[in-house]
């Protein structure tokens, strides 16, 4: 590209005739490898650029916003883009979420160029994968999986002086193994793929497949169940996403007291649980300010650049905050706590690993991952979904074999009140949501009566 992201920001701001202007430029690059049946199947290398212009017109309560985004923008495309945003603002009429644009100055790193990734990030993973294919082939296992690394660098500029830059690296590795009738999965997210130990993950996968070599029949029912951090992430990310203050205020969310506002201040769990987001949390760092390319029920384009810090959504079991824009904060008379790109759950005093929780189970189940999770009853946040790639029977604290998969019907909010044991919080890659939301930290949880509604024959 002959024009830099910073130049795009400045030129769009200069071209604008709107009362207020925001420009977001995102440069991204990604590389991926995919495999099945012990061999690579597809691969890809992708570079993208997107430019989003937000124009605001009018003053006071009559401010309107227009949002137009384009990829592959060259110097000649900027003026049409800015004019289109201005036109959209005039067409749209006053915006309900209108707020003064966030004031600010240029951040020190704004001048830095975008960072790129390349296939060289597979330097360690690819040979390790080749070795894993070799071992699998020799031992009669089949491996399937995907590894990806991407870097997104976003530049935000505003007519109020903001110049912010955020660089978001994201890597993920997931691998499914099959052997005989057994199926198992391992997955990790990391900012740097060098932190993913493919050989160790393959060993974990192989151990799980070994557990699966003995199968035990158990019926559907409620079981004492250990959920590893990835499964807790599958459920708690949904609980976090559902925390929009507007829906709660309108009486249409599990965080509503229908007809009477939100449940903020209510105790949702009698346990010492804290559900938090923190842009600075080690290993799951994310943007410390709002980057919104459209307004919706949980974000507002007017809030672009608004600082987003550590927020405790649940504190000691009590609902303390909801996802807010400045507009909904006014509606609900609560603090403006914007959405943050990570989420964590901490249980006060909890220590140990998934294995430590398993050791305490007399007879119960150990899960690997959850899948196809969808809301069934939005009032109680009842979710349905399935176990996937390995459910293990635990007897006297030890895994004794694999059982069938199940369909579950459970509410994350109810689980937060019912669990009997928890471990230490650790980075967790959600099988269900990780591709959209890779940054989570969760403890393993033991739930005494997890509802396995029916048997799934899937293996």
């Amino acid at each position: 590209m002959t024009i830099t992201p910073q130049e795009i920001v400045e030129r769009c701001l200069e071209l604008s005739r709107a009362d207020g202007t925001l420009v977001l430029v995102e440069e991204s690059s990604s590389a991926n490898l995919r495999w099945a049946n012990n061999g690579l199947t597809t691969n890809g290398l992708m570079r993208e650029r997107s430019v989003t212009v937000v124009a605001t017109v009018g003053a006071g309560t009559g401010v309107a916003a227009g949002v137009v985004g384009r990829s592959a923008v060259g110097p000649d495309d900027l003026e049409p883009l800015v004019r289109a945003a201005e036109r959209a603002a005039r067409d749209n009429g006053p915006a309900e979420d209108a707020q003064p644009l966030v004031p600010g100055a240029a951040a020190a790193d704004f001048a830095d160029p975008p960072t790129e990734t390349s296939p060289s990030v597979f330097g360690a993973a690819a040979p390790a994968l080749g070795d894993a294919f070799g071992r699998a082939e020799a031992d009669g296992r089949l491996l399937y999986g995907y590894v990806e690394h991407e870097v997104r660098t976003t530049y935000l500029g505003s007519s109020t002086g903001l110049r912010l830059r955020h660089e978001q690296p994201a890597g993920s590795f997931g691998m499914t193994g099959k052997s005989g009738g057994a199926s198992a999965w391992v997955g990790r997210a990391a900012r740097d793929l060098a932190d993913v130990d493919v050989t160790a993950l393959d060993a974990e996968l192989t151990q799980r497949l070994r557990w699966g070599s003995r199968t035990v029949e158990v019926p559907a029912g409620r079981y004492d169940t250990v959920l590893p951090p990835t499964c807790v992430a599958d459920l708690m990310i949904f609980a976090y996403w559902s925390m929009g203050a507007r829906d709660a205020h309108d009486g249409r969310s599990p965080y509503s007291r229908p007809g009477q506002g939100t449940r903020v201040g209510e105790t949702l769990s009698t346990r010492p649980v804290t559900l938090w987001s923190d842009p600075g949390a080690p290993g799951i760092e994310c943007a410390p300010f709002v980057l919104a390319r459209s307004s919706d029920d949980v974000q507002s384009v007017f809030d672009n650049g608004l600082p987003a810090g550590r927020t405790e959504w649940l504190r000691d079991g009590r609902l303390d905050a909801l996802i807010q824009t400045r507009h909904t904060a006014g509606l609900t008379d609560l603090a403006a706590t914007p959405v943050v790109g990570n989420v964590g759950l901490t249980v006060d005093g909890a220590q140990g690993t998934t294995q430590d929780l398993v050791a305490g189970v007399e007879r119960g189940l150990l899960l690997t991952s959850l899948w196809y999770i969808r809301p069934v009853d939005p009032m109680t946040m009842l979710l349905t979904g399935l176990t996937r790639d390995g459910v293990y029977l635990v007897e006297h604290g030890e895994v004794v074999g694999a059982v069938t998969n199940f369909r579950f019907n459970e509410s994350p909010l109810s689980l937060l009140d019912r669990f009997t044991a928890a471990g230490a919080t650790a980075p967790a890659y959600s099988r269900e949501w990780g591709e959209y939301f890779p940054r989570a930290a969760m403890p393993p949880l033991r739930v005494p009566d997890f509802n396995m509604s029916t048997v799934s024959q899937a293996s």
């Binding site: 199947t41 296939p119 089949l142 007809g259 009853d377 998969n405």
Partner: protein, 508 residues
């Protein structure tokens, strides 16, 4: 009269870039290469209580090169529209094939396809939604919203409109050159009722499906959706739902409306008959399939009245197109006939590698990428359950039920990784007693195993009951891709299906 392909798209340097990329791929020794340049315009509008909540107008333009080099795929994509950049993307694709080769297990070869030299295709629509002023769109949605908001029982209303204009130029080293344009949109309104006293809320959504049509679908001018009636029923339906009894769990006969059944077809037949899933390519992500290739021709998928087709030719179908992203012409074929599995959805590599087992010599044209930066993978055709030529109307099916449910509109959905166990709810369900509809019930979900469910299908309705449903967001592949797809279905009668009480499931 077909519409013309957008002039601004045709003004892009399509052929020079393709020539540069394909020539570089040839020079570097690729045995096959395909160039794709795509521009996807999209606009999303959301209104909350008849006021604009958010609007976004996006356009993605990019090019990609996919090469087959010494039997290994390589794929690269970029956004710079110059001949130098296109050639560089071709080099990157060849280089990536080189990295992948030591880890590839099989040599890829493609099923033959006739050369389609310089062909164009445009989907059927009257008014391009991107030529309608935004103010008119917002005004119509606000008008629809206000109409709903004014009804008793309705506390809030959300309106959403998604619109897409997709232009694709494809050229490969065999000489196929296609230029295509598709338009699609999805209008949706959802009303919310809140019962402050009981501390509960309920929602009810319009049933108009996403379709490959123009703005005339949203205004109702094409006669497809009766918007006035669709909007006016939401309030009364919600009031009835708030007062409806909870449904007792058990086994019941179900009459399922096409507005609900399309999604069950999508999940339990559409995905299960994707050959890449059956071969394990999706094992780490979307999952596999119980309908494995060794069962082709013998698997009893359902009862004898089950006839399921796959096609890319249905007018207004979201998966309808002239040619796929491997240059294969659109076709239609049987997937389940007389209840037996007889076909799969294919791409060229799978069609070649499994030609004997499949009994085919050609792909049926199911290779697509969802955006210029993504690699084509096998994607779902319009997979549809065919009506019985002399079948009854929906009332005729309901008459045959002593005690059961009539389920309308899709809502919650979930199915396992091998497409056996599923659970669906609906927008609403009515109790059937002695062949007649009684009022709505709540807290219902039906749960079954795919082949048991389709095996219990006693009858399908006639052509008059047939409706095209669909989605913009069929998810698959890594990196994740979302594809639009339609599913036609008649009303159908199922015997003895397990229905859960969701309040009990949640421990209430």
């Amino acid at each position: 009269m077909p519409q013309d392909i957008d002039e601004a798209f045709l003004a892009l340097p399509l052929r020079p870039l393709a020539d540069a990329a394909l020539q570089r791929a040839r020079d570097l020794g690729a045995e096959h290469a395909a160039f794709r340049l795509e521009r996807i315009r999209s606009q999303h509008l959301t209104l909350r209580d008849a006021r604009l909540e958010g609007s976004s107008d996006g356009e993605v333009v990019g090019l990609s090169v996919r090469v087959l080099h010494q039997g290994t795929w390589g794929f690269a994509a970029g956004v710079e529209l110059t001949a130098e950049a296109a050639a560089r993307v071709a080099e990157e694709a060849v280089a990536l094939a080189g990295i992948a080769r030591p880890l590839a297990r099989t040599r890829v070869e493609l099923a033959d396809e006739p050369v389609h030299a310089d062909v164009t295709w445009v989907s059927e629509y009257a008014v391009n939604p991107f030529e309608v002023p935004d103010a008119d769109k917002v005004a119509l949605l606000a008008d629809y919203s206000a109409r709903v908001l004014g009804q008793d029982a309705v506390e809030h209303v959300s309106a959403r409109l998604s619109q897409v204009l997709e232009c694709t130029f494809y050229a490969d080293t065999a000489g196929t050159v296609t230029t295509q344009q598709r338009v699609r949109l999805e209008p949706e309104l959802e009303a919310v009722a809140v019962d402050a006293e009981a501390g509960t809320f309920e929602t009810m959504r319009t049933l108009a499906a996403p379709v490959a049509r123009g703005w005339e679908y949203v205004t109702g001018e094409d006669g497809t959706v009766g918007w006035a009636a669709s909007l006016d029923e939401l309030g009364p339906l919600l009031a009835e739902r708030l007062a409806a009894p909870s449904f007792e769990a058990g086994r019941y006969d179900l009459v399922i409306d096409p507005t609900n059944l399309w999604l069950t077809i999508h999940e339990s037949v559409g995905h299960a008959t994707e050959l890449d899933r059956a071969l394990g390519y999706e094992a780490n992500y979307a999952g596999t399939s119980f309908a494995t290739l060794d069962r082709l021709g013998t698997l009893e998928y359902g009862s004898g009245v089950m006839h399921v087709t796959g096609d890319r030719t249905t007018p207004h179908g979201l998966a309808s197109v002239g040619y796929d992203h491997e240059g294969v012409a659109a076709q239609s074929w049987d997937i389940v006939r007389d209840g037996v599995l007889v076909g799969y959805q294919l791409d060229r590599a799978m069609a070649h590698a499994n030609a004997d087992a499949l009994g085919v010599t050609r792909s049926n044209g199911c290779a697509f990428a969802d955006s210029p930066g993504h690699v084509p993978v096998q994607r779902m055709a319009n997979v549809s359950l065919q009506p019985a030529p002399d079948g009854p109307d929906t009332a005729g099916l309901i008459e045959r039920v002593e005690d059961g449910l009539y389920i309308v509109g899709d809502k919650s959905w979930s199915i396992d990784m091998q497409r056996y166990n599923f659970q669906f709810t609906g927008q609403r369900a009515y109790r059937i007693r002695h062949g007649r509809l009684e009022g709505q019930v709540k807290d219902f979900a039906y749960q079954a195993t795919t082949t048991d469910f389709w095996g219990s299908m006693e009858a399908v309705g006639g052509p008059a009951t047939y409706v095209l449903g669909g989605t913009f967001f069929c998810g698959k592949a890594e990196p994740g891709q979302a594809a639009p797809v339609s599913h036609g279905a008649p009303s159908a009668l199922f015997r003895g299906i397990s229905v859960l009480n969701t309040a009990e499931e949640g421990g209430r």
